[in-house]
Symmetry: C2
Subunit: 430 residues, 2 copies
């Protein structure tokens, strides 16, 4: 039997404790599949005294996280601290500089510093792996790097945030409104006390930027992601979508064309009932990759949670134990192309538009005139007869397939209109 | 840039020609992801003169397939001939004995000779890969070997045969009967002229036996798979299942318990509407793996076709180019456990039973008495009032959760009854 692979674990939150439990439970099985013993040797976290439900006595405790990278008895540092910068980034850099492989579940850090860390890992000839950073327990990064490796990926899209999907599918099932369901999700632990990163689409955007880099062989460009959240989706929108044969899901969508550039967007979308993503309920994640030979591949599973995330972290560790030190982004970082952000204006889509308007004559005429002047062709229009709270009325419509620039122009024409009580909500049909 | 990886291709049917086209189309991309050039150097098939829609002039032609393994300018032999034995097996053995890595899409050969070939590959220290043998373009073997590597797999199940799924979902959508839809599937190329392997469940059983070996670390035991096909499913069964909130899908299901042994079954099952497999239509495949940490992982995509299958073959080739020569079944063949077939008798399930009976008094009393005597508790019973062609009547029922042995006992009590016009059809509820 070969030499053991020795792990240092930085961060003992839910996922860190889950990883300790995973090695306790499945240790023998991991050893047989990795072909060598794999052992946690040292751990570090902020608070040594906290009860995490796992026995930490077999491992060396380091008060100073950065000391893990300097230990001679460590081959791999696992970073589960979180946060784009701060101790997580310091730990990651120190580990790679010291020639230790790095495994991380930190999507924010990879989305912001993935290129730097990949270059560092490659210059050292060591592994940098982050399967757990995207879609929790679902092996979608391996699916792209290996399973779909022979394909030009034409588009990648999916449900990348379990909190948002839980909220949207619960709103759908109960008819309740966003705020109420969010509060319930917080009480159940499906949403953070500060839900901003999740509900505003930032977390999904981190993951999308990472997937896009691997799928299209492009340098990560997180700042270019066009990000929208779900906070403005109302129960009425969900009911309206349902009547049209659609469900609302927060999707990350990316495609890349040498001429057009790299398109990356996170936005609530209308997904037709027959599509596999429409059936994805609760905190589940699902990613679709469309390859030019494979056709449509779907990967689905738990997008978060201690067990699934620890499973993905441990899969990376097993890869390293087996000797896989392949390029973190499938091709060497230096070979990743710089892709300009695509101009969304001439993309075409069918579009759902929902206006909240004051209940007085002429409002509909004003809206439809703006549509006409911007050459937006209306496929169906629904005015909710009954005023909502505060006397406002919802007007929803679906525009025929057409360039996004025309929708933007129509919205520009309506900007500042006293008839609108809030900015219109725009969602594309998948 | 490292040395090129040189490929010999045995078999130029749909998938073989698809692989040539894939390398023509995506060659540069494959080279960048593999980290080295990957080139087809030699090909062989039965008929040199046949037009396959691809230019074969760049490659050496060998009339004798077995000569491919002896070529000094070949590193990997790709076997796409098909068939459990014969030229495919000879080619595979020759290649491995000559120290060439082997990639194959041949599920029958792996199901029957996978252990021998894995031992041969391992003794030579070379790769044997067969991602394309299971579920076409879906990287489910990589998903198990790598993505879910840290998990004890508790159950694996899925839709493993596209022809059967096309037939069942078309019957469902059109209300037409099996024979008619099969004939249409044959005309469309979704079913073979001789559909036996597909519709009788043998093809799905080959794939299930391979998946089970990898998932449970057990030696392949294809003869132990309990195999049923879809030929006896009627439009009336599909309508009945639909009324109960279920869809009928041919599923391969396997689980393994050290005490109980290895359970492997291919059988049409009733899948509840909310389950992701119920939404899988047409020739699509989908596999669910339940890991003790990952939870439920779903892999879905095209189960057959030249493009998807070639995509899976090429993914294996890229793995080899990257230096992955890991154990074909995730752990070394010698470490795979011998698992006795599980006795299904004390497994419990809810069961759908459909009887075709002569339209005369007392038949229902006879059937329900047999159920009572075997201690099978009936949850719901539907007697179709209107006699089918030939004057027979269908009686369908769902039995409460209970041991399968009781169902078998009830059927034994009814065996030979002149009231039954054919043996009862039994399907489990997932």
């Amino acid at each position: 039997m070969a030499e053991p692979l020795r792990i240092a674990l930085a961060g003992l939150g839910t996922v860190g404790a889950g990883l300790v439990r995973l090695f306790e439970t499945n240790g023998a099985l991991i050893e047989s599949r990795a072909g060598r013993p794999v052992r946690i040797v040292a751990v570090s976290a902020r608070d040594r005294s906290k009860d995490r439900g796992v026995d930490l006595s077999p491992y060396v405790w380091e008060d100073d996280m950065t000391a893990l990278a300097e230990r001679e008895d460590v081959d791999v540092v696992v970073e589960l601290v979180g946060g784009a910068d701060g101790p997580a980034l310091t730990t990651a850099r120190n580990a790679l500089r010291a020639g230790k492989a790095l495994v991380t579940a930190n999507k924010a850090m990879i989305a912001h510093h993935g290129m730097e860390l990949a270059e560092l890992a490659e210059s050292q000839g060591i592994a940098l792996k982050f399967e757990a950073a995207v879609a929790g327990g679902i092996p979608v990064i391996k699916g792209l790097r290996e399973g779909a490796a022979a394909n030009r990926i034409e588009r990648i899209y999916g449900i990348l945030n379990g909190t948002c999907n839980y909220i949207l599918s619960t709103m759908e099932q109960t008819g309740r409104d966003f705020g109420e369901v969010l509060a319930e999700a917080q009480a159940l632990g499906y949403a953070e006390a500060d839900p901003t990163f999740d509900v505003e689409g930032i977390d999904a955007a981190h993951k999308l930027a990472i997937l896009a880099a691997i799928a299209f062989g492009a340098r990560i460009d997180f700042p270019a992601v066009d990000i929208g959240g779900i906070g403005r989706v109302r129960a009425a929108d969900i009911a309206q979508a349902e009547a049209l044969g659609y469900r609302i899901r927060l999707l990350g969508i990316a495609d890349c064309d040498e001429g057009e550039g790299l398109f990356q967007r996170v936005q609530p979308c209308l997904v037709p009932h027959g599509h596999p993503l429409a059936a994805v309920d609760g905190p589940t994640n699902a990613v679709v990759a469309e390859g030019n030979f494979s056709g449509r591949l779907l990967f689905q599973g738990a997008g978060a949670g201690d067990g699934p995330t620890a499973s993905a972290v441990a899969a990376d560790i097993i890869d390293i134990a087996r000797g896989d030190i392949g390029a973190p982004f499938s091709v060497p970082a230096a070979a990743l192309a710089v892709r300009a952000p695509a101009d969304a204006g001439h993309r075409t889509s069918r579009t759902y538009l929902r206006f909240t308007v004051t209940d007085r004559p002429g409002v509909l005429a004003e809206i439809t005139a703006a549509m006409r002047d911007a050459q937006v062709s209306i496929e169906s229009l629904i005015q909710h007869g009954r005023p909502e709270e505060g006397g406002e009325v919802l007007v929803a419509m679906v525009a025929h397939e057409g360039p996004e620039a025309r929708i933007a122009e129509a919205l520009r024409l309506l900007e500042g209109s006293p008839s609108l009580t809030e900015p219109p909500l725009i969602m594309r049909l998948l």
